[in-house]
Each structure stands twice: as C-alpha cells, then as structure tokens.
Symmetry: none
Subunit: 420 residues, 2 copies
Amino acid sequence: MNQQCKVCGEPAAGFHFGAFTCEGCKSFFGRTNNNQSAISECKNNGECVINKKNRTSCKACRLKKCIMVGMSKSSSRYGRRSNWFKIHCLMDDMNNQNNLNNISNITNLNLNNMSALSGLSGGAAAAAGGAGAATPTPGAGAAAFFGGGAGLYPTSLLQGHFLSPERLLASPTLSWQVKKRKASAGGDDSGRHSRSSAEDSAGSSAGDAPAADDDSGSRPASALSFLRPPSSQQSPSPFSDKDYYQTHRRLSATVTLALPASPVGGQTSSPALAAAAAAAAAPFASPLFGPYAPASARFLYPGLAGAAAAVRPGVAPAQPGLLYSPVPVRAGAGGDLLLCSPALAGVAVEQDQPIDLSVKSPSAITALRCASSPGSPSRSPGATPPGLCPDDRPCGDAVKAATCPLDLTNKRGAEVPQSG
Amino acid sequence: MNQQCKVCGEPAAGFHFGAFTCEGCKSFFGRTNNNQSAISECKNNGECVINKKNRTSCKACRLKKCIMVGMSKSSSRYGRRSNWFKIHCLMDDMNNQNNLNNISNITNLNLNNMSALSGLSGGAAAAAGGAGAATPTPGAGAAAFFGGGAGLYPTSLLQGHFLSPERLLASPTLSWQVKKRKASAGGDDSGRHSRSSAEDSAGSSAGDAPAADDDSGSRPASALSFLRPPSSQQSPSPFSDKDYYQTHRRLSATVTLALPASPVGGQTSSPALAAAAAAAAAPFASPLFGPYAPASARFLYPGLAGAAAAVRPGVAPAQPGLLYSPVPVRAGAGGDLLLCSPALAGVAVEQDQPIDLSVKSPSAITALRCASSPGSPSRSPGATPPGLCPDDRPCGDAVKAATCPLDLTNKRGAEVPQSG
DNA sequence: TAAATAGGTCACTAGGTCAC
DNA sequence: GTGACCTAGTGACCTATTTA
Ligand SMILES: [Zn+2]
Ligand SMILES: [Zn+2]
Ligand SMILES: [Zn+2]
Ligand SMILES: [Zn+2]
C-alpha cells in the first residue's frame, strides 16, 4: 500500500504520531512538538501551503499542518498494525487515488461491470455513494474501485477469501505501509495533499476532540460509525488501530464501501474489501483476521455475513455506503445460526493455489488493478458468472488474479523506484 | 463479552497471567516480568496513570500496574475456561458497563419492563439496588440490566435456560472473551484494580505491597467471600477458574446481581444471569456448567436457588450487590429444592429452537441488550425495536435477538476499524 | 473437540544518531 | 535544523498446549 505524508505529500514512511508521514515530518514533529514556542512565526500570515518542496521553509506552518492532520504525541502507537487497519488504509488509499486521477481509468475500465454490479446489488450500489456512476464523488471512489469494478480486484481474493479465508494467510504479508520510493517529480502532489489536509483537519490536533461529525447529523453513530463495534462508544485518540478508524474517518474522505446487498437492502457490494472481510467475517474465525477480527468487523460486511445479516437499526440505513451486520457472524462453531448466507458461499469458489494478499507490486492499488487482468483460474474478467453472486454480490466483481497478491506489508524499503 | 485491559483500559484480548489484558500488556508483562531490573525507573515518582495512550511511556509504572491488577507468571493458565468463570466475567462486565455510561440506556429502554418485572418479583426488584430506578447507582447497574428489564435479555435465554438448561448446550459457545472493540475512555478502571493485587502479590516483585483488602476486614470471610467455595479458604493464585472468582472479587467493583425475590427479600431478579445460573444451578449438573460448576457457584445466584435460598446471614446484606445462597445447591441429584422461583418460571416459555448463549455480537452486553427485543426471530433491521435502543445506542446494535445468542466465547477481536 | 492462553514471530514505530 | 538510518521496543497475529 502506498500512503503519502499527510503533511507534505511525500511518500509516507509510516504512521507516526497519529498520521501517515514521511521521515522528515516525523522527525520534525518529534523535535518541535516539545518546544513549539521555539519556532519562529510564519511570515506569511500562517497561510503557507506545505508541500514536499517547501516544507522546511516555514516551521510554523509545517507544525500547524502536522497538528491539523492529527499528529500528537499521544496519538502515537507502536507495534504491528492490524489487518483491518491495513485494509481500511487500503480503502482509503484507493479512495484517494480515485479522487485524483486514477478514477478515470477505473471508470473507463469497469464502467460496464460496475453497472452490472449495481444492478446486482439491487440498485443499492448506485444509491450508495454513486458507485457505478460515471462521475466519481468523493468517497464513492473506493466503492467504485472495490465494489464497482468487476475487474478491479483479484478474483482470487474473493474466491479464495470467501471460501477459504485461510488462504489469505498463505501469503503472510498484509501490510499497509508504503514502500518508500523515490517521490515522483514534484508538481502533482502539492495540489493533492493540500486538500487531504482538509479532510483530516477535523481529526486534528487539538486533540482529537470529539470532532464534529462530518456526516451523520444527529445520531451518535457517525457515517463511519458502523466501523465501530456497537458497544464501543468513543475512543479518545487514534491510538489503536480501532481508534485510528475513528479518527481517520475525518481525515479520509467518505469511504463509501458498497457491500453486497443484504436482505435488508440498500447495501452495495464491495468485492475487494468484501473478500478480506469475508475471510474475516464469513468464517469469522478465519486465519486472516480470525480471532483477531474486530468486533466491529461484523458490522462492516453485512453482505458477507449473509442473508441473515440485518442492518443495524437506525444507523446503517442512514449510512450510504458501509453497512454492517448486526448479526454477529460466528466463527467455526457449529451450533449457531447460519450466519453466512448461502449467497456468499456461493460466491466463493475453490481455488487451487493459495491466495496471496501481498502486492509485490509497488502499490496495493496497482496490485489490485493489475489483478483485474485475467488469468484467473477460470474466470474471464469480463464475464461475470451469473451463478456466483446471485444477488450481485461482489462476486461479480470478482476478479481474478490469482497470482497478483495484495501486499499490505509495509516494506519501508529504501526508496523504491516507482512509477505510478 | 467484553472486558477491558485492567492495565491500560483497552479492550482485552483475554485473561493473561491472571488478569484481563490487551495483547500489548500481555506481551509487555511477559517480556519484562523476567527482567524487571532492566526497566528504567519512573521519572514521575512512580505515579504515572497508565492508560491506553501512555502505556508505553513509563515501563516501570506499567509493570507496576500489571502487578497491581494481579498479573504474575504463576497466575497463568491454559485452556478453556469454565462457564462459571465466563458468567462471572460477564457480570463484572455488565457492572462496569453500567457504571460507565450504559446504564442510562438500559434504564431508559426498559423502565417499563423493569417495572413489570419488579412486579413479578414481588416488588423486591425495586427495593434491591434501585433496579428500575431512573438513576443508576453503581452496582445497581448490573441488576437493572440483568434483572430489571424484562426485555433486556433474550427471552430465549430464560425460556430455554429455565426450562431446559441442556438447551444451552445446544449452542456450545459460551465464551467470555471479548472481541476487541473500542474501549471506552480510559480512566474508569484505574482506581479499581489498583487494589486488586492482593492475592497474587505474592508472585510479584517489586512492589506490590500486600495491598489492603478493600472488603473483608477481619473475619475470614470477606464481603465477597461467598464467591469462594466454602471449603476452600484461600487459594494462592487465580490459577483455576474457581480461584479466579476469589481473586477477582477485589478487582471488580461490586457486582450487583439482582435475583428473583427470595423469601429473604431485598433481591432483585436477574433474568439473564438467572438463565445461565438456572441452567447450572437448577439441575446443578446441567451440561452447561455441570461438572465444572465451582462450588462457589451456589453462592452466586441465590435467587435462582429459589425460595428456599436464604441470604447468608450477616454478610450478604452488607454487600450491596451480590447475594449468595448459604444453602448449597446440589448438583445433579434431583432432591434439591425448586431452584427456580415461580415468577421466573412463569417467564419461561417453551422454545422451539435451541438456545444459544453465544453472542455473536461484539459484546455480551450488546447481545443482551439486543436480546431485549422480544423474541422475534425475525426482526427487521430497519426497525428499531422499542425496547432496544431507543436512544440509538449501539445497541441498536442490537442485533437481533432470537438469533442473538449470548456468546461468551472469547473472540479475540483485533483492531477494529472504527469510526467514531 | 472446542475454547483459550503462553510464547514466539515479526511488522511497525518512537527515538537516537549523524552526515549534510 | 534536516532527514535517512538504526535500534529497542511494541503489539497484532500465529501456534503449540492445555483444559472444559
Ligand atoms: Zn512529510
Ligand atoms: Zn507559514
Ligand atoms: Zn493493556
Ligand atoms: Zn511512571
């Protein structure tokens, strides 16, 4: 996965002090956060636009930006990131990509499929965030990418994940971090992050104040609240991955994830995530997320949960994109109700080779994209097997790409030459 | 069920080294317990307050906290936990929840039902701990939740459990572990566990001072001693589930479990637990808890024990919450008194489907809450059952009930993508 | 057999270092 | 003062064990 420094736009080295940042901004923040008084005032009325090139020119604005994007000493966190976190980041990443300039490709490539999908989704897809729409709306990007385009994600993901989640583990690396690569020439990104900050600004500084909801108006559950387990109320800071989502939702544009239509209706499908989610959710104890699957996960992929899944009353419906299943999906153990709908199961297809989530390619997105290319065991990209996703589940989108794994691993490697 | 890390407050991953802890604290303890000398001294005079955000900032205080909450290598144990253990944890969990912020919902939601119930309970409910009262009192929370609201627990629980305990086993999973979810704001637990170390302190090094008892003053049997089997006096460490109760009693705030009115009066009813307890207690040898039911179990659910149950003279009364039956309930053997009070029994209704205690939902509480929705196996998601979460709680989360079993299984969730 | 944990593995980050 | 690089931790995830 690739992330950019939320402060300057350079490829991020990791998630530092609460935000994806480059080494420079990380160090800068680490150094200056302690003694902010020491930095001189901005000579530009505090309106400097920070980018890769000028980030060192105005400390005041750089620090300000850092805070704006949510950096704080208390937001720091150690350790490995959960797969859910990674996936979320990936989604977000996709979303950003789409909003910028990749969308066009996606749209062009998969418009047809998207339409098909939306149709399958019972029209929910279209309703939810505009997946399938020709004009990408912020937030709709992810949906379009993941859920909308049949060819956008590796079929293997769906297939393998849905049926045998454990397959996902076959390829261990699921990292979100970006492989550091040489930044592309400067110009293009400056514009980008300046707006990204906008999104994040909310999460910001000060403290992760409760932050006004950008979406839901009144109900406690914000637009992305479904990502949070019902029980959890509010998390103060993005200390944990879980928290991250909470905070990050403000940072990221609305991530509209379409999921397979659930009985409840109104959901759209989100194949890519669905795949991962499926792995985790469907057989909730799947090795990929297995025991570690966040409680909220169940609420993430209702469609995956199956027909039995119900929309979270009063909350999900409001949310255009993501839906979650109020019905806990049980792992393995038999006695419980069948949480996984047949539909899902149907979608899944046995696969011969182990699925690799690793994206050896430069960016996960690229990987996903590449995945669209045919090759899969059997399914041609263009043709969506009717049988697979009766209700249009992601399935349709299924992609193929058995060999194009999604690597969420943060290979921080030193600069990796990269192209797009 | 949901538990929080006793050290930092993050959602717990399980019961590690003698306490509920998150993965981080578990690893930390495992790593540092061996070479405590290696950790640097606290720079804050050893008074750091450990929470999710700052837990990595002071190893000395983190370790201290670990020890304070009862962690020790000797306290570790492998294997599945008994259902009694789980139930106890659930109770505690409920209690915590109530003390924090869930009580309001509960109260609001089920005030009516509670009233009804209290009526059934012979009015004892209202008297005992304020169940049904608009203002939740700490400790009364659990009572209100479990015992107060008729609609708060899945009817199925009562039905199935009371009538045919073995039904409980139908759905095997009864786990206590929490699926990781967003922790509530920190702070709440710090005060509490600081006094818990008592029993394990033995194992600790540095310091865990003997730790003053918070409850029992002089007499051997402390206020919560009923949790301990009569015969066993002191157990060195919470190695076994039974031992856990003993130790845990100090860790947990007063667990106020309302039980069906007993002749003694003053008890409230606690359907949810009652159900479970009934399964175990009524036919004490029920498969659910059967052979594993700790001796102490009999003292846990007096109400369940039935009219015959008497309050432990002199002790229970003092204890605001838990009541126990001085009269040992016999397992298996049929001769025991009718443990289920008529009132409760009346509630019970034959049920077609096997009862599942599993809560596929994120938290048992949530499950219970959701369960409140009356039986409807088929609840439409969109509709928020009046009883559920009128105030839009996650409850809404309410997941669905009939199918919303109580899952005490430990689904160790991981970072949950969450929004806030 | 299933559920649950101690330990181990290793992805990741806060800090520190030091050539610029 | 910067930021590429290192290192000591940290903690998510996995697996071998253990217990109900
Ligand atoms: Zn930067
Ligand atoms: Zn400036
Ligand atoms: Zn912890
Ligand atoms: Zn300290």
